[in-house]
Symmetry: C2
Subunit: 166 residues, 2 copies
């Protein structure tokens, strides 16, 4: 199925019943040892490791959580560019996205309680290749930045509850 067919098919399904637009995603995250963690994605058969580099006490066997967060953002931008280029009829030959995030470890370690634990600043650099005018690609960027799920997650608060069983 082309992305245009997916968009049209989803629109038809959602028009028939708006509840068809409600989707849920689940991951389970289990300690292996130290900082090594194994992730399984529910329903679909995907799994991968997470770990810290040696300076943060890990075995460096995989990317760490904040790198996965930046990868979620960068890959979401790539895919949202693909969808919205199809939706708007804008030809796009290639997309590459670099994401940089700065973090102050005073927050994570609690050395300074006024420093936030998460990223203080994130920069996304998008490179598009194709035959359209720069103005057309700027128009595409506006639509992408308005509809990219992980960019929304970064820029805006998300209601997130934590619950403990011990």
């Amino acid at each position: 199925m082309s992305l245009t067919e997916v968009i049209d098919g989803t629109q038809a399904a959602v028009t028939a019943d708006p509840k068809n637009a409600a989707v849920s995603f689940t991951t389970t995250n289990d300690l292996v040892s130290g900082t090594a963690t194994q992730v399984a994605v529910a329903v679909r058969d995907h799994s991968f490791g997470v770990d810290e580099p040696a300076v943060l006490g890990g075995g460096d066997t995989s990317a760490n959580p904040v790198e996965y967060a930046l990868a979620a953002l960068g890959s979401c931008q790539v895919i949202t560019y693909q969808f919205w280029a199809a939706r708007l009829g804008i030809r796009l030959d290639d997309v590459s996205v670099k994401v940089d995030g700065d973090l102050d470890l005073h927050g994570f370690f609690g050395f300074d309680e006024t420093t936030r634990a998460g990223f203080g600043d994130v920069r996304v650099s998008v490179t598009l290749t194709g035959p359209e005018s720069p103005e057309r690609y700027e128009e595409l960027k506006r639509h992408v930045d308005q509809h990219c799920p992980v960019l929304d997650l970064f820029r805006n608060p998300t209601p997130t509850k934590t619950e403990l069983t011990a």
Copy 2:
């Protein structure tokens, strides 16, 4: 190095010069084709794929961006539990974290511009195993939720700039 040694070593380095706490992370995210995207983590030698399931126009070769975002949160919780248990001297034998996120596709597809593109609701269920009292583990949870970088990313706005080269 034990996590306690990492905490003490980082504290010494950061006390000597607060700038030692400033760290940056980078990923590059390149389109393969369709929705398939390849991620490389800068400096460290880690890479992985990202893709959508068939209903979202993908080849289902890997987890998708929002699943990686939930995995970033779940694994960050696991690792922050490990660090803060070491820091507070709380014995913890095992940690398992399930993360569920709900998303309304009206947002991503732009079928309704009043629906946010990202998660409307996220639930984190943490299961701890160990010999300490429930009160001790509740105390641990309070410290973890205050210092977990990806939980901070979910709950609070992060300054995120996007820049286009086309």
